[in-house]
Amino acid sequence: MYRRGGAFTRGFRVISGAVLITWLVLPLIPLGIWSFARGWYFPDLLPRNWSLKAWEYTFSDTAGVIECLWLTIFISLAATILSIIVGVPAGRALGLYRFRGKELVELMILAPTIVPGIAVVLGIHSVFITLGLNNTVTGVIVVHLIPTLPYMVLVMSGIFANYDPSFEAQARSLGASALKTFWYITIPAIMPGIIVGGLFAFLVSWSQYILTLLIGGGKVVTLPLLLFNFATSSRNDITGAIGMIYILPGILILLMTARHLSGRSSAVGGFGTI
């Protein structure tokens, strides 16, 4: 996008890169150091003693971190799969078709990214009581869909805005059933969107705190909740170790998809018009 350009755009790129690193990478360094520290006090620049104690504890049976990690992975995967199942048809409708009330639907889908989760979740909490979903893993998965779906739908509608449905008509005409057409024609065409949207959904679910806390009612403990427990109990070394595990998917996903997220073949097109 900004491959060519004057000194201004070049300067802007350097500054934005610096800001990005200051905000995203620098805060992680002390966290990483903490996980190997044994006594790190002001005004020392580095800890006096190094240790693997925090990591040993993190991977021990008594800590429950591993159990919690599996649960978090399960919840995030489930929320991702559900987001794909709902987001693909929704994205298709918004990206491909014009219909009455489309702007309203777009707004409703985007709303959760604007309205604070805590405002919504109190209402959901009372609805979930009648459904018996509070304090259950199912309830947590369902409530995670509120923040994950907008990303999925946004990405998919961008994909479908550049999608030619005539390929499907051609496949039908050549003898493919509706299901086979979806499998052989549609899926390969929208795969980049499913991957990018799915990764977004996974990360958003992975990092949910408030929604999990309120709907899970303390019975469903995911990694962010555990992390928060340790962070507030002044165990900086264990917080550091869990924090490292916690940010791992984000870094992996970023490395895997950096190519898809920028440049000409960007899969993130939003609603195509935004």
Binding site: S166, A169, A171, L174
Partner: protein, 347 residues
């Protein structure tokens, strides 16, 4: 071999009042190559999609061999449509594209690869099976699209503007290929085009559709010599329309009193004749002789276009450049209109 009938086929798109296609009735005989001809937006692609099952008609019926197929799903109709932009699946090789229809019919791998090979030979692309569609030229892509349609041995083949995306020299090659394959395989074929020349050179019969209505359905020559009305004649390059009245044997107009062929319509109307049928030069024995003054002369290489003024009427003529070389603007020229070339459009 399948005979296709369209019965009062009508399509009104949602939110529109005017039908895009208005009560189209056509019979396309088994093994025939028919053209749906009309300007863009006249409803011809709509018709095609309704035959293919990709669009639901508002009313009317599509019948194959007298049996309605409207309730059949597109993949069960035995119809294959080849789209204008070919729509080769980009994630598949050329061979996989061609074999797609067989894969959907659960034909075995060996059999599929044998028949794909045959098809590649048939469309004269024997060595391109492993290429990606994006590596092919437009003409090659079209051949692949054609092979992909023919491999499933459809009862009815639909082609959307088959020649319009091709260069001039490729068009003739492709026309011969389509015509040859169609004759060889005897598949009832319908194609749409906006180009009257394309319709004429390719089709056995042409259906002219203007504003969603069928104007005329006939062999190509009929459109030149016996058009049903002025709009039809104009679509086929007709230029000369002279108002007057006919009594069935003579036509009275600004051109004078002209002899008509047998069976001409009578009453008030318009006389029409093709520019290329205007005879130039003095021939004492000719009927319908008259003197015209040359108002304009345009040399076009293989032919020369003339505008002639006769009794206040301006008529178009096309002549052999050598025949009219001696004439220049303002000259008086003897011309004649052979009765067999005249056609009366009654009001």
């Amino acid at each position: 071999m399948t005979q296709v009938s369209l019965r009062d086929l009508t399509k009104v798109y949602q939110g529109e009042f005017e039908p895009s296609l208005d009560r189209l009735s056509l019979e396309i005989d088994s093994g025939e190559l028919a053209a749906l001809l009309g300007p863009s937006g006249c409803g011809k692609t709509t018709t095609m999609k309704m035959i293919a099952g990709l669009l639901e008609p508002t009313s009317g019926d599509v019948q194959f061999d007298g049996r309605s197929i409207l309730h059949e799903k597109p993949e069960k109709r035995g119809v294959v449509m080849v789209f204008q932009n070919y729509l080769l699946f980009p994630y598949m090789s050329v061979a996989e594209n061609i074999g797609f229809g067989l894969k959907m019919r659960k034909v075995g791998k060996l059999e599929t690869s044998r028949r794909v090979g045959e098809m590649l030979d048939l469309v004269k692309l024997p060595d391109l099976g492993n290429r990606r569609p994006s590596e092919l030229s437009g003409g090659q892509q079209q051949r692949v699209a054609l092979a992909r349609a023919l491999i499933v041995e459809p009862d009815v083949l639909l082609l959307d503007e088959p020649l319009s995306n091709l260069d001039a020299h490729l068009r003739f090659e492709m026309r011969d290929l389509i015509r040859g394959l169609q004759q060889e395989l005897g598949i009832t074929t319908i194609f749409v085009t906006h180009d009257q020349e394309e319709a004429v050179v390719l089709a056995d019969k042409v259906a002219l559709i203007l504003d969603g209505r069928l104007k005329q359905y006939a062999g190509a020559e009929e459109f030149y010599n016996r058009p049903v009305d002025e709009a039809t004649a104009r679509f086929f390059g007709g230029q000369n329309f002279v108002a007057g009245s006919s009594d069935g044997s003579r036509f009275e107009s600004a051109l004078g009193s002209l002899d008509l062929p047998e069976g001409a319509a009578s009453g008030k109307g318009k006389l029409t004749f093709r520019p290329e049928n205007v005879r130039i030069g003095d021939s004492a024995s000719a009927t319908n002789r008259m003197t015209a003054s040359l108002a304009e002369k345009l040399f076009m290489g293989t032919q020369t276009r003339l505008k002639l003024r006769i009794g206040g009427e301006l008529i178009d003529a096309i002549a052999n450049p050598n025949e009219v070389a001696e004439f220049s603007k303002g000259d008086e020229i003897e011309i004649s209109l052979p009765p067999s070339s005249l056609w009366v459009l009654a009001n």
